[in-house]
Amino acid sequence: MDSKKSLKKTNFSLTDVVSIYDFSREDIIYVLERAKEIESMSAAEKSKLLENKIVASMFFEPSTRTRLSFETAIQALGAKVIGFAEAGVTSAKKGETFSDTIKVMSNYADLLVMRHPLSGTARLAAEKSNKPILNGGDGPNQHPTQTLLDLYTIKKYVGEIDGLKIGFAGDLKYGRTVHSLATALTHFNATQYYISPQSLKMPKHLTDEIKEKCKVYETEELEKYIPELDVLYMTRIQKERFPDELEYAKVKDAYVLEKSMLKNAKKTMKVMHPLPRVNEISTDVDETEHAIYFQQTASGIPVREALLDILSKVKK
C-alpha cells in the first residue's frame, strides 16, 4: 500500500493550483482519478480526508456559485472553513496589502482557497504563502478548477479524453474557460473546431500554439461540424463585447443551439456549457441525451474535493 501511495504522490508535481498551464498531462490525470475515487466514497469515508484541517476560503470578490461549491467540498471532507465572502470585511479596506493578508492567513489555515478581482494574485499568493494555494479565479486570468471540472465531465460522460473531437462555439475571443480548456486538451491530442463570428474568433497566438499539437478547424457556421463532434462546448455571446448593436444583432441568433440542429449529431455527442446560459442553448435541448451542462456543474464538487485532498498532503 505504501509503494502505491508514494508512486501516486510522484504523479502530482505541483505545490499550488494557480494556473492550468502549470499542469502536465500526468497532473491532470491524477486529479481526475482522485476525483473519481472520492466521488465513489461514502460520506463518512470522505469526511475523514481533511479531518482536523482548517481551510481558508478567501473571496476578495463575490462569487456565490464558486464559493459555495468550494465550501461544500471543504465541509464534506471534514475540514473546518474560515474566511470571507467579500473584500469589504477584511483589512484590505484598511489599506493592508494583499501580500500581507496572505501571510497572515497562512498562519491560521492549512490550505488557502482564494478568488480575487486582480490577475496574478494567485501566483503572488503561492509565492508569499507557506501553505498551498488553490485558485478559484484571479480576475480574468485563470480559473483552473473550471477547466478540471470540464475535463472530469468529459471523462465521466464521454469516456475518453484522448483523441476527443470538440467544438467550441460562441465567444472564443474573450472566453477564459474556452482558452484554458482548449490549451489543456493539447495534452490529449484533441481535434478542435472553433465556431464563432469573425469578430469573436479565438486569439491568433493561441490558435497557433494549439495548432502545433492538435488539428484545428475554424468556421462561422454552428451546424457545419456537429455530425463529427464528441463534445460541443457552447458559450455565451455577450452584447457588451460588440462595438455597436447592429454588429451584435447580426450574430446573436446564429449561435443559438436548437434541438433540431442536433438531428445529425452522433448519439453519444454531449453538449456542455459553463453556465449561466442566457439563450444560447434553447431549452428544448435540455431534455435530450446530449445535454450534460447541469451534470457539468455538479462535477465541480468531486474535482474541488480532489484538489483539496491532494493539496492538503503537499509540503511546501
Binding site: S119, G120, D138, G139
Partner: protein, 159 residues
Amino acid sequence: MNKEEIIKKIRVRVTPIGNGTAIDHIEPGKGLRIVEILGLNSGNAASIALNTESRKMKEKRKDLILMENRFLTEEELNKIRLIAKNATVNTIKNFKIEKKESLDLPEKVQGILKCINPACITNHEEIKTKFSIKNNPVQAKCFYCETAMNKEEIRKHIK
C-alpha cells in the same frame, strides 16, 4: 565605402573615449530610447551617433553610444538587451577594449519591466515584476498575470 573609411567617418561624428563604455551595433532608431533609459542627459560626457553607416548591420545603418567613465550594471545590460538585441557592448580602459560582449535576449528579467495589464497585481502593489522572454517573435510574459507583451510593448514598458 570600406571599413577604414567608415571608422574614420564615425570618429569625426563621435569623440573617442579613454575609459568607459561603447554600445555599438544598436538597431537604428533604438539609440535614443537607450540614452533615455540610461539617463545620459546628465553626469559624464557621452556622444551619440544616430543612423550612421555600418557594414555589419543588415540595415547598413546603426546607432552608437559612447559614454565616458560610465560602466553598465547587469540590470542596465538587460534593459539594453530588451531594446536592441544583438547590440555590442565594449568596455574601454586606457583607450583599449578590455571586454567585448554581444548582447542576446535574456531568458528572464526581474524588476525592469512594467506589466501592460492594468489589472495585474504588480500594478497595484509594490512587487518586483518578473517576465519570461521568448524569441521569434520576441515576447515577454508576466509571471503573475500571464499577459504577453510584444516587442514594441516591451520597449515602451521598460522602467
